[in-house]
Symmetry: C2
Subunit: 441 residues, 2 copies
């Protein structure tokens, strides 16, 4: 992609409204634009990251056996009246009346709707286990939306819903999502730590938050260092097997956020293993049994031919929030440092002298070669000062920068910079291409 044909509205000044680093950097890098309080557009660079995050979420949901559907954003109030949550939910629910004066709402979550789908079509334990998920925009009418897409009103959420015959089945479903979440967050380059959590308005009696560590995190967290050293379950994890050992390994050591913190229990952790840090919540899973299936009559026949309410759980990740969390965990004074897995482009190629025939030829030739090899290249062909070009590349944080100037064009060399380490090397064109293609594979 040529920068001259791209839409990358970089801001030179720090926006006043941004209170946290991810909000500031997303605005400055032209990733998002606020349209009204807590409601954002995703501009081309931001959209690419959001798509990559969403793709990883999907891959890991599918791997764990969940099936993708897509429920609408607008729901009928009737379902929420049936479950008893319509009045409970309070002012965070965006309530709407249509032209026929029927009560609708913009879904903040979809337990009711998915339970309605389930009860309409599933009759027997033979059709279980079932896990249906979707990625869809949600709306929560926060009193004070802030922190950019970290706490916005309209936000993207992956919500999965599991249906099982009994508690044991539901716990196995919970473990599958638990493991899928460890894998998902690890693929974002993040260090996930599951922590026992309150269930809040979703309800139920078992729940874990997934916290990632970031110096600029919103809350204090306390944990046993053992959790930071545990291996992430591999791609070859058998999701049909019993995953209890993995669950136990990750929930045994001490871990708590501020509000659940038990200083006495933390003191019991050997001192050299006590970690006090800052964290951000980026996932939340719930087992809530028959909380929705009983009032909404989502029943199946069991092996004995009796009708029983299904046991359910729900599992949320907010990809729009994750984009901000990754930046909180990975940035420096110059800007964002994208992990390769979610970078909007694999590399930026800076032409220091657009219009110079030799430099253009080398830079354009490199772009074509790299794109043919499957790499995503942002080619800066814009006429601007070198300093401004480098600042933009550092700000938008692509993993690798290639720099081509008239001198390199003459000698057939290119400078390669690693954004994360700052390390620079001068390589021949072939060496540079080979290395980048190799790293991508």
């Amino acid at each position: 992609m040529r920068l001259s044909r791209y839409f990358l509205p970089i801001l030179k000044e720090d926006p006043k409204e941004a209170e946290i680093v991810s909000h500031r950097l997303m605005l400055r890098a032209g990733m998002i634009r606020q349209q009204s309080a807590g409601i954002y557009s995703w501009l081309p660079l931001g959209k690419r990251v959001l798509d990559k995050v969403s793709a990883i979420v999907r891959e890991e949901q599918n791997r764990a056996g969940a099936l993708e559907i897509l429920m609408p954003t607008i729901q009928s109030a009737d379902l929420w009246i049936e479950s008893g949550r319509y009045n409970d939910y309070g002012q965070e629910m965006l309530r709407i009346r249509d032209r026929h004066d029927r009560s609708l709402l913009y879904g903040p979550t979809a337990e009711e709707m998915v339970t309605d789908i389930f009860r309409s079509h599933v009759r027997s334990y033979r059709d279980l286990p079932l896990n249906l998920y979707h990625l869809q925009w949600k709306f929560r009418d926060e009193v004070r939306p802030r922190f950019g897409v970290m706490r916005s009103r309209e936000f993207l959420m992956k919500d999965a819903y599991s249906f099982d015959l009994d508690y044991e089945g539901a716990r196995a479903a919970y473990n599958r999502m638990f493991v899928a979440y460890l894998r998902t967050f690890s693929r974002f380059g993040l260090q996930p730590i599951p922590m026992r959590a309150e269930t809040g308005p979703i309800g139920g009696d078992l729940s874990h938050e997934f916290i990632i560590l970031a110096d600029t995190g919103e809350s204090a967290v306390y944990c046993d260092k053992a959790l930071l050293d545990l291996p992430i379950p591999g791609e070859d994890t058998d999701f049909t097997a019993d995953l209890t050992p993995i669950f136990d390994a990750w929930t045994g050591p001490y871990a708590a956020t501020d509000d659940m913190h038990d200083p006495a229990a933390f003191e019991a952790v050997p001192e050299e293993r006590r970690v006090s840090a800052r964290g951000i919540e980026i996932g939340h899973i719930f087992y809530f049994g028959t909380k929705y299936s009983e009032p909404m009559k989502a029943m199946v026949t069991n092996q004995d031919g009796e009708m029983v309410p299904v046991h359910m759980g729900s599992y949320g990740i907010g990809p729009s929030r994750v984009v901000a969390a990754i930046i909180e965990a990975s940035h420096d004074d110059a800007g964002i440092i994208w992990p390769k897995s979610v970078a909007p482009f694999d590399l930026g190629l800076v032409n220091l002298k657009p219009g110079d025939a030799a430099t253009d030829e080398i830079a354009e030739g490199l772009t074509v070669r790299l794109e043919k090899a499957g790499l995503e290249v942002l080619y800066d062909d814009v006429d601007a000062r070198a300093g401004a070009k480098f600042a933009t590349m550092d700000l938008i944080g692509l993993p690798t920068q290639l720099v081509v100037g008239p001198r390199g064009a003459a000698s057939g060399e290119v400078e390669v910079k690693d954004r994360a380490t700052g390390a620079k090397e001068t390589l021949s064109l072939d060496e540079a291409v080979n290395r980048l293609v190799h790293e991508k594979a």
Copy 2:
């Protein structure tokens, strides 16, 4: 994907509420479920088709130089007051008040919002041309939603918005989208016919609808047969070149829907070339000049340093509606016949005797081989009557069916059925795999 682990809630009876064939078949094939009037969930099979349609739309938008963004579903009323459309739009607009009593709305279209993005960031003719598009859910509060996802209230729309310095630039942008639409619809296996159209609430003075022919189409259309024989612009079309010749070739011959029909002009077409048929609108493009840029002050400096309002156009395709339109154009009494480009799976593999060791081995081995080769296989491993299995496969309309039974397992043969023609052949396993892999490539 094993059918025993999939969620495919086939309906045996014709649903009473379905007035048109696509609505009936989408419900029967377990693709969608109505959640409230004109609001649908997309179940796994439907979601796969919607994703394939959307992917083709994206590819052709990108090829034509448009850049993908994502604007929110909820918009502030302020922007619509500024453009003058807030009161004009009438009851089809879903109006909302948030907890602070601010006026919001669920976007039925996004001319105002994208103009706001433009004016915030673009200052100079040097940044033009620019075309920003997104795929996002829209809401139009129809008085009588009907025909399933063909005329739903919540629907997916790809809307693109072009920005140019002057009329000539805007016409070039219009032609690029015109050509992109011909290519897009052709890739769905449809026969697109552009027809001059009214501009309606979008406004402006140049507009074309894209109609596809389908016996069960909603309106009568009249055209010169020459349009059915025109070649679709190829993948190698140069979108930076002048596309006027393509535009002229496709807009010269007579073509009109019922409400724009001019019988006298139609009579002037040689009789053997007159086509009277049924059609469905699946795309609409508009040039509307400075209708939004003037009131909203979206100005750029021109070559002479003067501030001038940009010339704009907008370009819509509804992927959710397209899914239904493809079915209207491609079905028979037994069910849907998916074009290969948008089929939810490449093939269905029917195991006639699950539990029989030899048959299971052959069927599962075939599934693994085909999936490794990159084909998407729906493997029917469910214990059911052969007749029911065949009926389900015909209903869901995958392009190819492979049938493995005990007899074929013994002889190492498989029956291959082409869903569109009904032709059946018995092939060796290797022959069947080679043919399918070859066809997919």
